[in-house]
């Protein structure tokens, strides 16, 4: 007997062997570069769109949730809304008419006295008017509110101070400007210590607030019948009550419009987070009692937050399904091409078998090729998918978040697709009879 038996000699799969098979696979794929590229496009687009859409969705939902959180998840916000029926009446008639609607001081008192777990109540009157700094003018909302507004709404003072209880009791003419107002009124100098004029009254600027998120402005604009400017200034509620009374007059072409609204906005703070939903329910019931018409709205940020999270979850499920389908289609595309490739390379398979390749060597060769294809598609897809969110952020000014696991997962799945859809063509190749394969033209 010969010293080395070639049949039983170890021919297992070593790393070096795998490396050579990979190199061989690259060579074979490179021979048909264009075809290889077209083959993986399905995977490329699948992976790329999943990563990009996840990043955009994640960014949007993060931003929405952040904005909702700035409203305060322990808060319940009540807003006065102009009832729709009365709007029609004013549209028809041209005589002067006083409209009365919205949340009243009685409502606030009732909520505070009857509902347990309510700690602070933050009322606000909102008056739309022009603010002047000599000749500079800004269309803004004058918000009459209470000194504890900043803590309640998680809205901090950036410079100076907020007005105090003393300002409130003394009905002083002080104001705190929203950050959005400053560039228009005081482009060069600091507004602190200066006076601005609203109507016939002058207010001393004692502070400037921090800027607020985009969605908050959009959200608050819904409460007012007129479109919000997003520019707000804060004045003690007592001062506003004294200056403006309770009837607001507004001149319009051909008609006078007057509204009587006691409170435009009330924020109710709930003592503990798990009480929020119950208190919100109680508040809604309390308001229903006192109002014949639905001239108010109740916004529960926590509810919004939960809804935003639900939407984000649904979005992810839909995305996941789209991803699964596109990767499935991509995988079928690859399998199709690999089957064609196996038929086309029947002769090569015959030659390799004649030269000593076992069935599993042929399987390995074709499987490696398929995985290389889908893996390359996955890498291209990941690169594009990571690049697209940056472009979106840059051009559309949208927040995008690429979670670290999404490229990994997408790449892993695309490689898995290669294995799953590569097995059948590889087995087809390996099952060929060497004699038949060699005769193949």
């Amino acid at each position: 007997m010969s010293a080395i038996n070639p049949i039983t000699a170890f021919r297992g799969l070593t790393l070096a062997r795998l490396k050579r098979t990979v190199r061989l696979g690259i060579k074979s794929l490179w021979l048909h570069r264009l075809r290889s590229l077209l083959t993986v496009l399905g995977i490329v687009f699948g992976v790329c769109s999943v990563i990009a859409m996840l990043a955009i969705g994640e960014g949007a939902s993060y931003e929405a949730q952040e904005n909702i959180k700035t409203l305060g998840s322990q808060n319940i916000i009540l807003r006065s809304v102009k009832p729709p029926e009365e709007q029609k009446v004013t549209d028809k008639g041209s005589q002067s008419y006083v409209m009365q609607y919205g949340i009243t001081y009685t409502d606030v008192k009732r909520i505070r006295d009857t509902i347990p777990g309510v700690t602070v109540v933050l009322p606000a009157r909102i008056i739309r008017d022009y603010a002047w700094n000599i000749s500079r003018r800004v269309d803004c909302e004058l918000v009459g509110t209470v000194p504890w507004y900043p803590e309640m709404r998680n809205h901090r003072v950036a410079a100076g101070r907020f007005f105090t209880d003393t300002d409130m009791d003394g009905k002083s003419s002080v104001c705190v400007l929203g950050a959005e107002m400053v560039p228009a009124l005081f482009p060069l100098e600091t507004p602190l210590g200066k006076h601005i004029r609203v109507g016939g009254d002058y207010y001393l600027v004692v502070g400037v607030m921090e800027p607020r998120g985009q969605a908050v402005k959009g959200d608050e604009s819904q409460s007012d019948a007129s479109k919000s400017t997003g520019k707000r200034m804060y004045v003690p509620l007592e001062t506003v009550k004294m200056r403006y009374g309770e009837v607001l007059m507004r001149r319009r072409t051909g008609s006078f419009e007057a509204e009587r609204v006691q409170l435009h906005e009330v924020t109710v703070k709930v003592a503990s987070l798990d009480q929020v939903m119950n208190v919100a329910e109680a508040v809604k019931q309390a308001l229903e009692h006192g109002h014949k018409k639905k001239d108010y709205e109740v916004v529960v940020p926590l509810e919004l937050l939960k809804r935003a999270q639900d939407i984000a979850r649904i979005f992810n499920i839909v995305l996941g399904s789209i991803a699964a389908i596109s990767l499935l289609v991509g995988g079928i595309g690859i399998m199709n091409i690999m089957l064609a490739s196996v038929t086309e390379r029947t002769r090569e398979i015959g030659i390799r078998r004649a030269l000593g390749a076992r069935r599993r060597d042929i399987i390995l060769q074709f499987l490696v090729e398929t995985v290389l294809l889908s893996g390359a598609g996955g890498i291209i897809g990941v690169l594009l998918g990571v690049a697209i969110p940056f472009v979106v952020t840059w051009t559309a000014d949208m927040k995008t978040i690429i979670t670290f696991w999404s490229p990994l997962l997408a790449f892993g799945i695309s490689a898995l697709v290669g294995i799953v859809f590569g097995i059948y063509p590889a087995i087809r190749a390996a099952e060929m009879d060497p004699v038949e394969a060699l005769r193949h033209e």
Binding site: R11, A354, G356, R358, R359, L438
Partner: protein, 228 residues
Amino acid sequence: MATRIVQFDNVRKHYQMGPVTVEALRGVSFGIEAGDYISIMGPSGCGKSTLLNLLGCLDRPTSGRFLLGEEDVSQMDDDALSAVRGARLGFVFQSYNLIQQLSVVENIEVPLYYQGRPEDESRERARELAARVGLESRMEHKPFELSGGQQQRVAIARALVNDPLVILADEPTGNLDSTSGAEILNLFDDLNQQGKTLIMVTHDTSVAKHSRRSIRLRDGHLESDVRH
């Protein structure tokens, strides 16, 4: 006398074509000693290629015994047959059968690759053999850049790379003009002179003259077996 490396005992090969059984080989017996140079001849369809495929362990006989070296090949499983082909046999085909995406040296290396030999050692040996068949200046060329005669020389180098017990050639000059064909036959003569065992299927009596022994087949039977 030289050692017997091939023993065929009453080998039959049948092909099932639906209800019809084609008897390609109907009981063939012969032996081959190391260092011999054999041509297999006969009319078309007599079973020459079938016989060569059995010799080449590409197929198993329907019945009968086939010993290659000391091993009974007729009962081996697919993996074992692959191993025998890779380690003990060399093939030269009529249509060269090189792998198109591989260079000359890489084509020559293939049998060693499937034996799991180290890469640098294989490369060294492949270069050696390319030089031996006169292709030292074509090492990195692809098959389509070579003439038919050159391609067939690559195939011969590939058949030699694993130092096989037997080299099997199915009409190796069938696709070549007379000059290239003569070159290939001279190469075969040289190899046989150096002690290689060659088995060659051919239609051409002038080609068969290069061999030392001629086996003639007719209708799946051994018709004649002459030494010259």
